[in-house]
């Protein structure tokens, strides 16, 4: 097997391992996020409606209500 194929295989293995790890962590987590860049207070995630981000530019500037389905 050529070196390039070995590199590709290793990269894929790392990707699969990382995504599996993430799936395990997120499945057993409370939905909060891991933020590891700086000491700034992380804001609440603005999208929680089944993976769909909230509209940033909606109609009017009224605060969006909590999502009725979870």
């Amino acid at each position: 097997m050529s070196r390039r194929l070995i590199v590709l295989l290793l990269a894929m293995l790392v990707l699969v391992g990382a995504m599996s790890l993430k799936t395990v962590v997120v499945t057993h987590g409370d939905g909060s996020v891991i933020m590891a860049n700086g000491s700034a207070p992380p804001p609440p995630v603005p999208w929680k409606n089944g993976g769909t981000p909230v509209q940033v530019l909606g109609n009017g500037s009224a605060p969006p209500p909590p999502v009725p389905w979870k």
Binding site: V7, A18, S32, N37, S39, A40, P43, P46, G51, P53
Partner: protein, 232 residues
């Protein structure tokens, strides 16, 4: 708005990030560890910018939320390249730069594709959600890559103390956040403790890197702890 204690923790973290650059400049290590220093410079600038946005728009504003997550994606990307910088330094004598570059591009492309595939399931494909997903996925890729690099350092019997210190600091940093995440889920009633503990963990990386640049010279080598016994 964050309280006084959280603000002080944030301020100390930002100062530590700036101190890494100062220490690297002082010991003339800026170019050798270019991506590590670029990452720290980005962290410092982003921290200042986040403070500006927070003061202007408020903690619960969408502006702060989106700025936070966009800048976080940028920082995670920076951390990924810093990790690749460490990879190239560990493997520099093996002349495998082109394979490292290939692996890095494939891994980054694969992570971006996976992130897109995840958000593609939702009805609204918004760039900010992609940035958030990519940041989270790259965090886990970085975690795995750091452990692989730890293994490589052990296998290659690396003796460059500063390089080992930099990689170990990164591993401890990733592991600390993973442990913190697990403990937060195990003990949700300890939220008053974690609201101070989690941001304090962000001190680990800049503090360890600043120490490595300032107190460990490039020429320092670790003495082999044990010699292989040869059977006669």
């Amino acid at each position: 708005m964050p309280g006084l204690t959280n603000s002080i923790i944030w301020l100390v973290g930002t100062l530590l990030e700036g101190s890494v650059l100062v220490c690297a400049l002082k010991t003339k290590s800026l170019r050798r560890y270019l991506f590590l220093n670029v990452y720290m410079a980005l962290s410092f600038l982003v921290s200042v910018a986040r403070f500006e946005v927070l003061i202007r728009w408020g903690y619960t504003s969408l502006e702060y939320a989106y700025f936070y997550f966009y800048s976080d994606a940028l920082l995670t990307l920076g951390l990924y390249f810093a990790l690749l910088n460490l990879y190239s330094l560990v493997f520099d004598e093996m002349k495998v730069e082109r394979y490292l570059r290939l692996g890095a591009v494939v891994l980054l492309g694969g992570t971006a594709w996976f992130s897109y595939a995840v958000i593609n399931q939702s009805s609204h494909r918004i760039l900010s959600h992609f940035a958030f997903e990519l940041s989270q996925n790259l965090y886990f890729v970085g975690l795995v890559l750091t452990y692989v690099l730890w293994g490589a350092i052990l296998k290659l019997r690396e003796t460059r103390t500063r390089l080992i210190q930099l990689v170990l600091a990164l591993g401890i940093y990733f592991s600390a956040f993973a442990a913190d995440y697990a403990l937060r889920n195990l003990y949700p009633n300890l939220q008053p403790v974690f609201q101070y503990l989690t941001p304090t963990l962000a001190w680990i990386l800049p503090a360890a890197w600043a120490y490595a640049f300032l107190c460990v010279s490039e020429e320092t080598r670790l003495a082999p702890s044990s010699l292989a016994a040869v059977s006669r």
